[in-house]
Amino acid sequence: MSGAVDTGVAIRTNRVTRTFIYLFLLLFALFYLLPLAVMLINSVKPLSEITGGNMMALPNVWTFEPWREAWSSAQIGVQPTGLRPYFINSILIVVPAVAISTIMGALNGYVLTKWRFRGDTILFGMLLFSCFIPFQIVLIPMARVLGMIGLAGSVPGLILVHVVYGLGFTTLYFRNYYSAFPTELVRAAQIDGAGFFRIFYRILLPLSGPIIVVTIIWQFTNIWNDFLFGSSFAGQASQPMTVALNNLVQSSTGVKAYNVHFAGAILAALPTLIVYIVSGRFFVRGLMAGSVKG
């Protein structure tokens, strides 16, 4: 009766129930889409149409001026620089932090599954717990240490912070992925004389594509969206995008340019949204792997 591939639960539902289910799902789709849609519509309206008009109405006059302003001339803090320099800061922070934490996580996962030693589970448990600590507990000493090593208020300082507190998750991903990988293959290569790094490059790495993508997406999203570390440790010149956006939106001087705020918010959301649209499948896998073992 049913096809060869039977995914969902074969519940018998009547027409009324199904209509209700569809309505319910569509209603929630609207709920999730509403804030983004409102921001998009209102980011291409002149300010007069927002304050006097209906937020759901399409613009009478289409304008991309708010986008230009958010990007290159809006007042952030004291400088009328727009969000561009902060967007660049975020990229300068995210790219090295993601690369370093992913590489270290891959090697850690490899050691913890294929070169096991006494006490490795305890070490991993400690590393895992460090993913979930409230970062408030490290803010005070971290500020001191960054000052002591001369990285306070700098981009390299933020890279260090993100690498250190990202290692738990990257290690978790690779450890779970590699634990399903046959250890016999590693032992056989060892008997043939292959060393630690050769086994990693030749045997494990070529098969690690999916988990590398999952890890990169996870780290990219988390670091790009970070606000606490950025607002605690960045200087005026090294602020990431989220902190700059918050400054733009919360600034109390002058008229609130809502259309510019929305354009700025979308600019801040764009990189992670694009990653999500392009690779949603891996994004979901990453979220799941971060919550459930395996």
Binding site: G8, V9, A10, M39, M55, M104, S130, Q136, V138, N225
Partner: protein, 297 residues
Amino acid sequence: MARPVQSDLRTRLQEWIPKIVLAPSVASMLIFVYGFIVFTGYLSFTNSRILPSFDLVGWHNYWRLFQLPTWTIAVQNLAIFASLYIAICIAIGLTLAIFLDQKIRGEGMLRPIFLYPMALSFIVTGTAWKWLLDPGIGIEHTLHLWGWESFHFGWIKSSSMAIYTVVIAAVWQSSGFVMAMFLAGLRGIDNEILKAAQMDGASNWNLYRRIIIPQLRPAFLSAFVILAHLAVKSYDLVIALTGGGPGRATELPATFMYSYTFTRNEMGVGAASAVIMLMTIAAIMIPYLYAELKEPK
């Protein structure tokens, strides 16, 4: 003659390489995580104000913390926020997952729509909802323009209701993710058992209540743990949505810690509040992680 010695050295080196590779991560974890926890723990027993001080004052900061009305508000807010956030996310997530699992047309379209908020920064979410919930320009204003003059929704401006607006925005952001967790759980259930139960004449309602939902226990547990720890850590969303206001009405432990440590120069009290946050999370996470790691592979 020299050969065995050399190969012996090589194997011994090979034995050390894994530990050398792991060493930087272990060292950074011991310093930046556990060392820092000890440091902050120590500070919580000192009279640190604007800068760390090492003069011990016993439990004074903890005692003071629980005397502060702001901390009481923050803890009460966290209790309200966390319980509603967890309960509503699980209710919405489970319902959406069960409905999506009914061989829905367009599932491939709906799933990403439910899930995309999770990719956004809380600052973006806060910016959007701050405006939607603002009675002067947002939803209330729009409904007035559409003719529903009596509609009133000013929670974000009211000190007794503002914390619930934080719940709304946080649920918007996270419920799709909970849906994905439950959907994965549902897809992992063996269809044969369900068919057998249907054969025996079980109603849909009983099928879910007696067979399917009990089998989702691991998903419930994971969802609870993840949401609980996100709730305790919530900081960005409050900053962007209400800034802790109106007044101190939406203060949470995370915002309390930040303002006492860095703007009110009461570092000892700030450290004590951070320790209490850590203890709360540890009470949830350690049993969970222990159970997860203990299970045989």
